[in-house]
Symmetry: C2
């Protein structure tokens, strides 16, 4: 790799070579059967070179030196043809990294067999626990990735690691009621996936869903589950913390550092080193050290996250939030592992105190939220009616609102947290919000 | 491969080995610059084996015999664990194929350089023709695929071929007006991509869009362009022709063969052998010969399309419409190349006769259409107001309706057709519809 950097330095003022090797095994479920098992692996190298403030990016699906050399030449040709980016400052310098966490090598060599076994176990359990339930879908996967980021300023970081996940989607049919698809999952950095717990939670929700309750227009306490929180925040809230949006003036948080934007119970930060994290990265996609970046501390907005480019355009420092997009080869501002700090009490404690309200498991339509102002309009489904401290059945309703108003209505977070391995990786508890305006459907 | 079939026959009653090798080069544009050049290639093998009516599917990203052998074993393990599919009849038998068309080997070895050159030429042309236009996005690509489908009943088909595409998205800014993103493209089975024509058409539409015209509620003639037609039909109409939906009773076309469902001017068929086709396949994803399947002939509904599985469940024959899903490894019913037969006159002739109406270039929201009944609700954007036989400016409006009502309102199709390389591959002219109810926005 050093040789390739030397080679590239003849063509560029500065350059970066990022090599990604990955292996993924997976298996899927369709209608109570294993529908597929798959093993895939590969390597991709991205070259980012700058000559005279002209950028060239080339991608090649190989880690062989000869192919990387060709990609460097390709990037050099491109940079010659492109115009100058007058805002370009430079690629990152080496930084001080936290101590690497131990990798779990059993994830590197996992066979699809272990996933097939776990999925079959889950299907069997689900049908034993509820003979009216069908495992409509599901999947398990184990991924392993090795990344090597090296640049002509001396950045040279190698990282490796993996994660495993499983999910099941159940549909129950009983006495003329067909439940919505009920979903639960587990994800972790070892193969001890909690199939029993996952199925248990899904079956419980299916049981609730056999009793259909009409919804109505009202202002009630609503508990959003981790998956619902992840959906809403990923689209309506988290983009607002991007430094690129500060520069482009498209974040409603501009100029608000130190201001109260949420209830005291909410502390939110990004940190790949949380114990439940699926990927304890020491460096981001361009080799900048990762760290704990507090976004909201007891309701107070603490700051934005940056990659190297936008930080230098704005005159600040990267917070280690440059994420590589392997499709375009470029770096975007993103999150490693967004944590909503947990509280003390259990979900059961929270439910027990509610006279009338809802527990929301999933949201539909969150992707249409507007991160420029925080407005959203979503359908809560699956959602469960709580009356007299107990879940009484399933409902569907609409919530249209603004995420910043909602943040101020948060009244408590649960002690249990789960990691959500989809979209933006998040670690979230259940969060209770007071007086949420809902529209019956 | 014969050896591998022999090996698999010891484990299965019947099996299929499908090998896909591909190579893709591409380059992208962002804000008047080349943002990326990429070269990717790979191989994927899918095993589908059946033992005692129990199905096993395994996917491996390799075409090496040793890895394929492991995948066969993996699929065998899975089939043992799965339940019986009592509806299973068998994999396809060999059929009679049409004569293979000549492959264009220049596509197999194309370098990203040629794409970079074409994209730069397009950017330069666009800016020369309209100094207020920005090439917001764009891309060019050349793909090559080799497929080998072999099964234990003697099916053994090898096919290879490639295609190239280019698209540009322009945004114009003039006198306070910012146009919507205006898109045009070319795709073909050689490298002579028509960059000039593509840019010319896009610049023309940007010019129109500088003049913004309010829309209102009215019933008017509307010409849908090829891209708009492809969006609407892909989601609202084409799924209804699937034989799987006949079995599952989710198509509104059930029992209507021979009935008039559209205006006389509409003839629609699926045939990979059309001269503009990007992929003249002689066999589908499971080795069944492709053919011309007429869907609508001068307004009359002629029939459904089938893959091997659903055809045998229903008691009919595959029409050669089994398409491989490389994600799941399975076969779904799909189309090779849907052709809307062209008419005689030009788009200009049609526009010249309209006193007041619209030309619609793109639709938003078509993916939310309901193929169970044909209902749709879309935003026409970009769309252009026609008055007194001329395009006067750009408008945005809503069309909510039913695709089967719309089919009856078709009054003319243009002589020119273009191939749309995205979603379902289609070859479409412009189609004029009378008295379309639109809602101003």
């Amino acid at each position: 790799m050093e040789d390739l950097i030397r080679f590239g330095e003849k063509l560029f003022d500065e350059l970066e070579i990022a090599v990604y090797r990955s292996r993924n095994v997976s298996a899927s479920v369709e209608l109570n059967e294993i529908s597929m098992a798959s093993t895939r692996s590969g390597a991709v190298t991205v070259i980012r070179g700058i000559k005279d403030k002209r950028l060239g990016i080339a991608i090649v699906d190989s880690d062989e030196p000869e192919r990387i050399r060709e990609a460097i030449e390709q990037a050099a040709k491109m940079s010659k043809l492109n115009g100058r980016d007058e805002r370009w400052v430079s690629l990152p310098e080496p930084g001080k990294y936290r101590e690497r966490q131990r990798s779990n090598y059993e994830l590197k060599e996992a066979s699809p067999d272990i996933l097939v076994e776990k999925l079959l176990h889950g299907i069997k359990l689900a049908r034993e626990k509820d003979s009216n339930a069908v495992v409509a879908g599901g999947a398990g996967g184990v991924s392993w990735e090795e990344r090597h980021i090296i640049n002509s300023h001396g950045v040279d970081v190698f990282q490796e690691g993996g994660a495993a996940y499983v999910y099941f989607e159940l549909v129950g049919r009983k006495e003329g009621v067909v439940t919505p698809g009920i979903f639960d999952f587990d994800a972790r950095r070892d193969l001890n996936l909690d199939v029993e717990g996952t199925v248990e939670r899904a079956v419980q929700k299916v049981k609730w869903a056999y009793s259909v309750k009409a919804s109505r227009n009202e202002d009630v306490p609503v508990i959003l589950g981790p998956w619902a929180i992840a959906e809403l925040f990923s689209y309506a809230l988290l983009p607002a913390f991007s430094g690129e949006r500060v520069v482009k003036e498209t974040t409603p948080l501009a100029g608000k550092i130190g201001e109260k934007i949420a209830s005291d119970v909410l502390t939110i930060y990004d940190d790949p080193f949380h114990p439940l994290s699926l990927e304890p990265a020491i460096a981001d996609g361009e080799g900048v050290p990762t760290r704990k970046n507090v976004l909201i501390e007891e309701g107070t907005f603490r700051g934005f996250v940056w990659d190297n480019y936008w930080a230098r355009v704005y005159g600040t420092e990267s917070t280690g939030n440059g994420k590589r997009d392997l499709g375009s080869g470029g770096i975007n501002i993103g999150f490693h592992n967004v944590v909503i700090e947990n509280g003390k009490r259990s979900l059961e404690d929270l439910i027990a105190e509610i006279d009338r309200g809802y527990l929301v498991d999933g949201l539909q339509g969150a992707h249409s939220s507007n991160p420029d102002n925080g407005n959203f309009a979503v359908t809560a489904n699956p959602a469960f009616l709580i009356e007299d401290g107990e879940v009484k059945g399933a409902s569907v309703f609409l919530i249209a609102g603004n995420v910043y108003e909602l943040l101020k209505q948060a009244s408590e977070v649960t002690g249990e947290q789960v990691v959500i391995p989809f979209m933006t990786t998040m670690i979230a508890p259940h969060v209770k919000f007071e007086n949420v305006k809902i529209a019956g459907k």
